[in-house]
Symmetry: C2
Subunit: 209 residues, 2 copies
């Protein structure tokens, strides 16, 4: 997000020219991002320290601060670099099945070590607008765009009302998952995804006068 611009001259490989000077170490960059994710998973946003990241990446603390202005920017970039490749929406011919399966995948991630990273970002984001904005841009919106398509298919098949508010519907499906994830007042299980899906989609059918 707030990462410093790539140094002048390092214009990527499509341009043969390069500026003078020692080039940025790609190895160091990747090691820093990897260490950030690891420490974020074990210590959370508040517990993670830049010094520990540098130590684990076998890199000078200076090198971290040369490229990222502060902890939040580093975390946002690390999270973005880890773009979770799973979490795609299937197309089974049934909205209920499509959504339910994807929600099960999300719950699985929330319950894994990656969940710790997400909770660290959401927590840190309450005190850092850039961080929560990075979460939305890199995680929420890309998946939501896919979800819109899934819902549109459901509408065209007559499984959902034509005039349904897609954002309202998606918040109703995912909000409860985020709530249980963050407040931890009840179990977050695959079965919960199914029952949640059944309840909410029942209210979104056509002719449900």
């Amino acid at each position: 997000m707030r990462q410093k611009p790539w140094p002048v001259g390092h214009r990527g490989k499509q341009d043969g020219k390069r500026a003078p000077g020692r080039p940025r170490s790609e190895q160091a960059r990747q090691a820093i991002l990897r260490s950030t994710l690891e420490l974020l998973g074990t210590s959370g946003f508040a517990g993670m320290t830049i010094e520990a990241v540098a130590m684990r990446a076998r890199v000078g603390k200076t090198t971290v601060y040369r490229w990222w202005p502060n902890k939040a920017a580093l975390v946002a970039d690390a999270f973005a670099s880890d773009t979770i490749r799973q979490l795609h929406f299937p197309d089974t011919g049934s909205v209920r099945t499509d959504m339910s399966r994807q929600m099960r995948q999300l719950i699985k991630i929330f319950r894994s070590s990656r969940g710790r990273i997400v909770s660290a970002i959401l927590a840190g984001g309450q005190n850092d607008k850039d961080l929560i904005a990075a979460f939305r841009a890199r995680f929420l919106w890309p998946r939501r765009r896919e979800a819109y398509a899934t819902l549109r298919r459901g509408i065209s098949r007559g499984e959902l009302r034509r005039n349904i508010d897609k954002d309202l519907l998606l918040d109703s499906l995912y909000g409860p998952i985020y709530m249980r994830f963050l407040i931890q007042h009840a179990q977050l299980t695959p079965r919960f995804a199914d029952r949640l899906c059944a309840l909410v989609l029942a209210g979104a059918r056509p002719h449900s006068k």
Copy 2:
């Protein structure tokens, strides 16, 4: 939560006896809790400092640490002492109206300065089990118990299925509010409460074969 035990001898007013020594200053205690809430509202959990709390309460830093072992315990106690007196459930004869009105009240609080306190606690709670447990015990469960009664009335009136899972239903109603509150990806308006209520409760009616 993890507050130190009240000093031996300060047994409350039901017992006339008191231990020797200067009694704890009730005025200082209240000033500390009040300052904590104020600073929490303006600076968040991470930005709030104990020194600032002591300064604003015109109290020595030592006095804070004498009674609360750390920042999280202080914040949890301050939040508990502020038990929000509004947020009761009406009884209008319609589940939809009862829930919608209460959800509007919650949204109003989330959008006020108190919302900042709640988000600070939920954020800090991701790194502190005691803090999130305090939130559940002092805020979530008391209101949820009232909500159960509201739902039971709806069941007996035939507005809801007899076998409805109350926790699932309540999470479906409140989860989206918490999600929008924390992720801030969409407006959190009273109108949202109404439409959310309509969608979810439609899926909870009887005979919705």
